[in-house]
Each structure stands twice: as structure tokens, then as C-alpha cells.
Amino acid sequence: MNTIIVRFIDSNKGEQITDLEISDTVFHLGNIKKTIREKIDFASNKRLKLIYNGRVINDKFKFTDLKFTDHKCYIHCVIGETLTIKQLNEENELDNEEIKQTTQPQVIGFDRLLQQGFSQQDIDQLRSQFENIHNIDRSSDQPINDLEEEEQRQNYIRQLEERWIESTVNPSGGTTTRATAEDEQNGETVTHNVPSAELEENHNKDLLIGLMIGVFLGIVAGLFVICDDSIFNKRQKMAITAGIFVNFSMAIVRGQWI
């Protein structure tokens, strides 16, 4: 003789409903629901959803899986919306519907990020970066790609991506979300690094150009700077000023002014 203790969670009513104990030798889903409806008036025409161990109990659930400790077992019952008589009869069907198996192939690789709210463009970019980093040559091994080979190659790349994502998962309890977050971070840092490197390059170029202009044009360059602000950026202006000083000091050193 085992006992199931049903705890209620009501989504509409805030009050607590006292636990219900059902004792039987063999349990059946229909029986349990029936007893709940009989014992508790409030739930007589409500949708009931039984949850055990985080899983919804439906027709496929084997009641032998219930684990009893001291002949007791706890089940949660969620009381939902009010149903009509017809819907009540079909209630079990509703439960069965809950777990839907998708027939589409599992999404792997960076396509998984689509579900995380990335756009297709981002993913294409990530993918091209990934291919660059891992030296996946797009087409050099096979000069002519037919459709099948192309598909195989795509699959291969997806597998690589998947493996990479998996490998970046933190082994100590890291979850996939963590992996995608990390993945995202990597992608972002890579895309941000490129322009900043370019900027650094431009930085030196600006300094050189500004200095050259200042040294060779002398006071004329100063006039240009004063005349129109939009030609040179701030760094170039500073370099031009430095260049003009160099120009002046050269003149003094050569004794042109004395």
C-alpha cells in the first residue's frame, strides 16, 4: 500500500490548498485525477496537470517509475484554467500534446545562435572568421564543386563549429548558454579588434602626415589649420603644430633669423 501526496499549485488563486493523500496499490492517471476532482470542489472543472520530478505525467508515464520513500511520494498538481465538459473529456490528449518531438534536423554549429537572437548576417560573419582562423579553405582543394560535395563540406564545417562550441563549454558545470555567451563574446572581441588595430595604424599615419606638413609647409600649414578646421583631425593638428616648431627651430639653428 503506497501513498501519493498531491500538492497543489493554483495559478489563479493565491490561497494554499491542503495536501491530498491518495492511497492505493496500483495508480492510474485517470483515477488520480478523478479522486482529485471528487475530493476538491474547487478543482472539479479545472485543467489539472500533474508533475512528478519535473516531468508532466501523461499517458506514457509509467507509474512504476515513482519512487516511494517510506511508502510516500510527492506529486505536484497545477490547477489551470476552467474547461468545458468536452475539453475535460479530452484532457489527457492535451497532456500528451505537450511534449512535441520536432521532425526537423537538429540545428548545429553557429546556426544555434539564430535561436539566441543573432541575425543571419552576424552568423555569416562569425562563420567567415571561424573559417579564417581555422584555415578552412573555401574552395582550393576542389576546383569545381558540385552540389553534393558542397553539402558535404558544409556539413563538415558545421561539425567543426559544433565541436568548437562544445569544447569551449566550461567542464565544471558549464551549460550551453554559457558556451554561447562565451562564443558571442569571442565573436564580438574579434570584430572589435579589427577596426581598433586599423585605428592604431591610422594614428601613426596621422602623426607622420601632420609632422611632414608642419615641417615642410611651415607657417602656411598653420594658416591652413586656422583657416578651416574640417581638413585635419585633432591629432593631425597637434602634429602640424609640432612640425611648425621643428621648422622654426631649424631656421634658428641655421641662423636664418639672426
Binding site: R138, S139, N145, H203, F216, L217, C227, I231, N233, R235
Partner: protein, 323 residues
Amino acid sequence: MPQITPIKGFINTPVTKKVVIFSTIITILVSIFQIKYLFTLSIDPLILEYNQFWRILTFQLSVINESDYLLTMILWFHFKNLERFYGSQKYLSLILILSIYNGVVTFLIMSLGQLLINFIDYFILTTFKLNGYTYFTTILNSIVPGPIGILSSLYICFGTYIPISYQFKILLSNPFKNNQENHSNSKELLLTDHFQIHILYTLLLFNNGFKSFVPSLIGLFIGKLYTSELLPGSKSWLLPTTLFKIFINPFKILNNIINLIRRRFNGYQSINQIIDDEDQNEESNEREEIVDDMRNNESEIRAETPVRPLASQFLDTFRTRGD
């Protein structure tokens, strides 16, 4: 922030940018290597005695004194509006055409004019039965080098095609004294937004006396011919696109050629990649200017952000790591 033209910097005016850069570089090189003599044009010793006709081509390439340089640069800078008006390719074609016409016509007027003056002198002397005629050089003998003729023609174009955006009056008398009868036009100065160009051009016109006056007048005349559509070939002729591209972006063309050659030696490639490359090239062509612009802005912002002290740099590093 002073800004003398409505267009900021050299945005979307690649021809002006390149013209300014090239003329600056040429001027500096000419000055450093002391080869100013290659750019002067004068009839009497150089053409008559030494037959150096190539000077017709070179004399417009470079200015040889600093005030000319400054004036021409600022004028080129103002004529950015014309480039926007014509479009870059047409503008470059126009500059080339004007330079050809100016070079040839200036040379003809100089040589024929000098000859004519000498002939008149000779004629007068012979009619009055006076002796002692010798060939002499006139004011037409030599001119100052530089693109003065081109700028004069462009000045006419500017006045004709670029509309006036605002006018303003400067009162030359006290407006508070006898208010009623003070509206005589002679006491006001009416200026437009073109006034700085007029001033700059006038300076350029008189900057070297007759040596700059002669080519300027010829340039003005050619510009007038151009705007009244009397200059043969100037309306329809366009510089070939490849040449234009080479002028605008020589390094990129060079890069492309190197890539092309490398591709030749690398053997076969799939069509996909070639198409990809070409697509990218075209896209980058279109986007380059926008990207340039953005990058300028970005670098400007970057240049203006204050320098972080070392401690806060460290702190920032650890903050981002901690997240």
C-alpha cells in the same frame, strides 16, 4: 570651429583632394631640389633661343612662390563646390581641358602678342623714317608659373553655376544718425557668400603684377567661352574611367593589378572565389568613402577622448574581466 566651405574637409571630393595633395608635393619637391627653372615660361631666351617647347606643358604644374601657393590652395579648396556640382570625373576632365586650352592659348598670345608689339614698333619707326629698331621684350615676355589660368576659368564657372546662398549688407554710415533719410545705396556695401572667393581671386590676379595678370585674363576669357559653350569639345569630352580611377586611387589600382598577376600564377580557381573577390571589390569601392568618413569620425572621437590614467586603465581591464 571655423569652416570656410559648406563641405566638410574633402568628403566626396576626391579630385580636389588629389589635386591639392599633388600640387603640394610637387611644390615642395621643386623647392627642395631647386628645379624651379623647369617651370618658368618666357618667350625671349627660352623659346626663341633654346626652343624649349616642353615648357608649355610644365608651366602650369607648379607654383614657385609661397604666396601663390597659399592663394591657389585656398581657391582649389573653395572650388570643391564645383566638383560636387559637376561630379568628380567630369570635374577632372574639365580641369584637364582647361589646362590644355590655357597652356596653348597663353603661349600663342604671349608669342604672337610680343611679335605684334614689335611689329607695330617697327612699322611706326619705318613709316616715320626713323632708325634704331631692335627687338625688345614686352610685358608679355614671361609669366608666373602655376595653374593661374585654370583657376581663373574655374572662377568664372563658379560664379556662373554656384548659386548665391545668402547676402549681407554692411552699413558704412551711422544707422542711428538721422534715421529717416539714410537709405541711400552709396552708404551700404552689399556682399554675398562668394565674397571671399572674389577677394582671394583678386589677390591672385595682382599677386605678380603683369606676370600673373596676363594668364589670369586669358583664363577668364577661356572660362567665359566655356560657360557660353563656345569652347570646342569641352562639354562632351570625358576622361576614360580607368584613367580617372588611377588618378583617384593609384595605390588601389596597383594592388588590384598585383592581385591579378598573382592569381594568374596560382593556377585554376573556382569561379565562386573570383566572383566573390570581384563582388567584394565593387562593394568596397562603394563603401570605401562611407567607411572613410566613419573612420574619420571615429578617429576624431578617439582623438578627443581624454587619456585615462594608468590606474583606471588597470581597473577597467579587471572590471571587464570580472564580468
